[in-house]
């Protein structure tokens, strides 16, 4: 191994209640392409945020040595000055600005007090040549496709005299040609002596391009593999990434088989005008009565978009395909319609688009079905309190009273309020999107118990989850989603972490 350009030693970073990184060590040799892999939540992004100074020195423990010197970055500016540039999955370009303005944003070329636009355009042109992007630098970024935008980001990084280039899932949103193009570009950079760290979920491309691979799991370094010694292989990577036993945190349940199909979706495709690309392609699936169907897949694979497109399509996708509920063909124009037909959707981001944090527990619980407690449009406050208290008891929501504001509750109890809200619409199909994200083990178990009780009563549940163990522990059947398609379907008996990961990363 060459001399290391970067050494991160014994990095530990804690968030309230969680150790995101636990004594992680990470070493990158000069001039190599080093891949960083791991499941969602393994700590990859946190580690990169420590490196780039998003979490400044002092908020973590451990040492960062870059270019032979111990570094104490206080912010992104410091790390960029040292020559470390990160390109995030969500691109950080200003769409309304031109390519050249974006490339030198925050790093303007000055002539006296003025910006030297001519020099800027000339140098932007040079930077674009380096990334093989044959586009006029005066084009607005808005008019470029995602692949080209990514290249502009890289050009921006190159204009800063970069020594270590970090790419966070750069190919997640790219098609195959653009991905291949990008990987070739990285190989070229390697020849010119730029070191790259690539975070990726796509194991194929990792195997194709990596000189070495570091695997993280649960905030710990599991191993570093060397490609030259032939250590990098798909089965090895998957084993290291998942390598856990199922804990006994799932309520035991019998997997029952019903033939009654509650929800069926056929040839379902969706195009997002906002993103300018097709997000779902030819999706087919069904959910039976009293069944928990797990939707596994990596972040950004299109599971949430699938749920939203079914649930009345609030984001205005252009949809093709058919949907049947209890055998009846349905078309929804608004979540209102979906609710009326017996669907309920507990969102992934309970604070962002699930709950109204400034309102109290009872108001949140009744919001989606106010007509149930209203007579001639006048809300019966006493009935509301009664309903809320019933759910408080049955779901064991820990709050001094149902008049407590939701923002004062813990994550687990907020999630229970979300679930209560959607149970109150008395749905046939309950869609749970990441039902246990960010809540503690005890609350997780309670959510699982509630789910078990609901399916026993005949409800159907769609559970979208990035936690493989949860998918395996709770589902009767698993669909694996990848790049907006159903990449596979497994009965629970055949589903293992390895199989799912293999299908999801293909």
């Amino acid at each position: 191994m060459n001399t290391p350009i970067l050494e991160m030693k014994n990095i530990t970073k804690e968030f309230p209640g969680v150790k995101a990184l636990n004594n992680v060590s990470f070493q990158v040799a000069e001039g190599e392409i080093h891949c960083l892999v791991g499941e969602n939540g393994a700590g990859k992004s946190t580690l990169m945020k420590v490196l780039s100074g998003v979490y400044p020195h002092g908020e973590y423990s451990g040492d960062v040595v870059f270019g032979g010197e111990a570094q104490k970055f206080a912010g992104i500016r410091d790390s960029e000055q040292a020559g470390i540039v990160i390109i995030y999955q969500e691109l950080a370009l200003v769409p309304e600005m031109t390519i050249y303005e974006n490339i030198f944003l925050g790093n303007e070329i000055k002539k006296g007090f003025r910006v030297d636009w001519n020099e800027t355009i000339r140098r932007a042109g040079e930077a674009l040549k380096k990334v093989r992007l044959n586009t006029n630098p005066e084009t607005k970024v808005r008019e470029l496709g995602v692949g080209k935008q990514q290249l502009v980001e890289i050009a921006k990084a190159l204009s800063k005299d970069v020594k270590l280039l970090i790419l966070d899932e750069p190919t997640a949103a790219l098609n195959e040609d653009d991905s291949e193009n990008l990987l070739n570009l990285l190989r070229e950079f390697k020849k010119h002596g730029v070191t790259c760290v690539l975070i990726s979920h796509k194991l194929k491309e990792v195997i194709e391009i990596a000189d070495s691979v570091t695997v993280l799991r649960d905030g710990k370094t599991i191993c570093t593999l060397d490609a030259k010694k032939g250590e990098v292989a798909e089965n090895v990577l998957i084993k290291h990434m998942v390598g856990r036993e199922i804990d006994r945190i799932y309520p035991g349940r019998e997997h029952r088989q019903s033939d009654e199909v509650t929800l069926e979706v056929r040839n379902w495709s969706a195009y997002s005008p906002e993103l300018g690309r097709t997000i779902l392609r030819d999706v087919n699936f069904n959910v039976k009565k009293g069944e928990i169907v797990g939707f596994a897949g990596l972040m950004g694979s299109g599971r949430t978009e699938l749920a939203l497109s079914i649930f009345g399509n609030p984001d205005g996708y252009r949809i093709q395909g058919e949907m049947f509920i209890n055998g009846e063909r349905k078309q929804f124009h608004h979540p209102q319609d979906a609710i009326a037909s017996g669907l309920a959707y507990v969102t992934e981001d309970r604070k962002g688009d699930g709950l109204i944090l400034i309102q109290d527990v009872k108001q949140n619980i009744t919001l989606a079905n106010l007509k149930e407690i209203a007579r001639r449009s006048v809300v019966n406050n006493n009935a509301e309190v009664k309903v809320a208290n019933e759910y408080k008891t049955s779901l064991n929501i820990k709050t001094p009273s149902v008049e407590q504001r939701v923002l004062n509750l813990s994550g687990g109890n907020q999630q229970k309020v979300s679930v209560a809200k959607w149970l109150f619409v008395k749905p046939d199909v309950l869609i749970l999107d990441e039902p246990t994200r960010g809540i503690d083990v005890g609350a997780k178990f309670e959510i699982y118990t509630i789910m078990t009780r609901l399916v026993e009563q005949g409800m159907s549940i769609i559970m979208i989850s990035s936690e493989l163990l949860e998918v395996l522990g709770m589902s009767d059947r698993v669909y694996i989603v990848s790049s907006g398609r159903i990449a596979g379907e497994l009965p629970i008996g055949e589903a293992t972490q390895e199989r799912i990961m293999q299908i999801a990363t293909n």
Binding site: G312, A340, D353, L367, V378, N382
Partner: protein, 395 residues
Amino acid sequence: MSFIRDLQKVLRQNIRDYGMFIALFIIMTIFTITTEGIFISPRNISNLLNQAGYVAVLAVGMTLVIVIRHIDLSVGFLAGFLGAIAAIAMVYWHLPVFVVIPLVLALGALGGCITAFPVAQLGIPSFVASLAGWLIYRGAILLVTLKTGTIIIPDDTFNAIGNGYIPDIPGVEEFLPDLHKLTLILGLVAILFYIIGEINGRRNKQAYNFEVLTKDIFILKLVFVSALVGLITWVLAGYNGLSWTVVIVLLVVGVYHFITTQTVLGRHIYAVGGNPEAAQLSGINVKRLIYVVFGSMGMLSALSGILFASRLQSATTTAGTLFELDAIAAAYVGGVSAAGGVGRVTGSLIGALVMLSLTSGMNLMGIDISLQYVVRGAVLAAAVIFDVSTRTAGK
């Protein structure tokens, strides 16, 4: 001692709810002292309430607009324009007043929906959409009054809305000759209803084992509010009694208070303000709600225009100037949050009274208009700072 401690606790916990009442009380007390009692004289209070009317109804509508995270700048000149339309309809088209008023109210609702259209359908910021309305209605007033200038309104019924008082009970002129008996009776009825309502509410809460005010504090609250209502009633009864303007404002506030606190529509409005995405996903039709809220704002603008034209007994070319800013200021002083989802129509009524009391009191003191603007600006800033700081403390 525990009584004092309870009182402190209640005041601290509910400082946001009671803060405006206390501020209004302090402002009124200061002006009463500085004007040697002229401020609190029946004549002045009666005038003050009549002047507050057209701002108060706008502030009520504006409360809902701000709660759903929007703004409507067009309301001032829309009010002025519709006031002029009302005058033209009566003077030149010879329509009876009972046709004119519903017609103008309907036009107002239509105007609000037109402002809402680009906001709801195209996602254009309401600031811009309503600024366009501001310019258009400004032009429209000038246009319709181009030939005539100020239009004098001769209709007595119409003019009574802004200047008249409710009649007294006939046949009892000898009994308490200096007081307006019907006003006194209405005041007493209001106090009675208030006390019964509060006691019932407390019983209901106790039945559910909710926390209620301690008995001492509860009685103090009843006495305080009853005394306040009683005092205002007494003062008004000593002049000409309740004016039609006050009756209309109380009706509007009552209806909107009911809608916002007791109905499904009200819940939906606050939900959209609190978290529009969550509301949308809960099956609330956000677009429709924008039309409803702006439509109601337009209708109240029309009402404001009617009140103003009636008070001046004429439609002028400058009617409605700066009404929108007075209404927005009143709503913010009354505790509406710019972040959305928080605000009460009763608070905005108090906010309007605070702002009008300042003007009235400073006028009586002979303070120059330039300084008056500075003071009102400072009070607005102080109210919002108070609001924001108590809110963060409340978390």
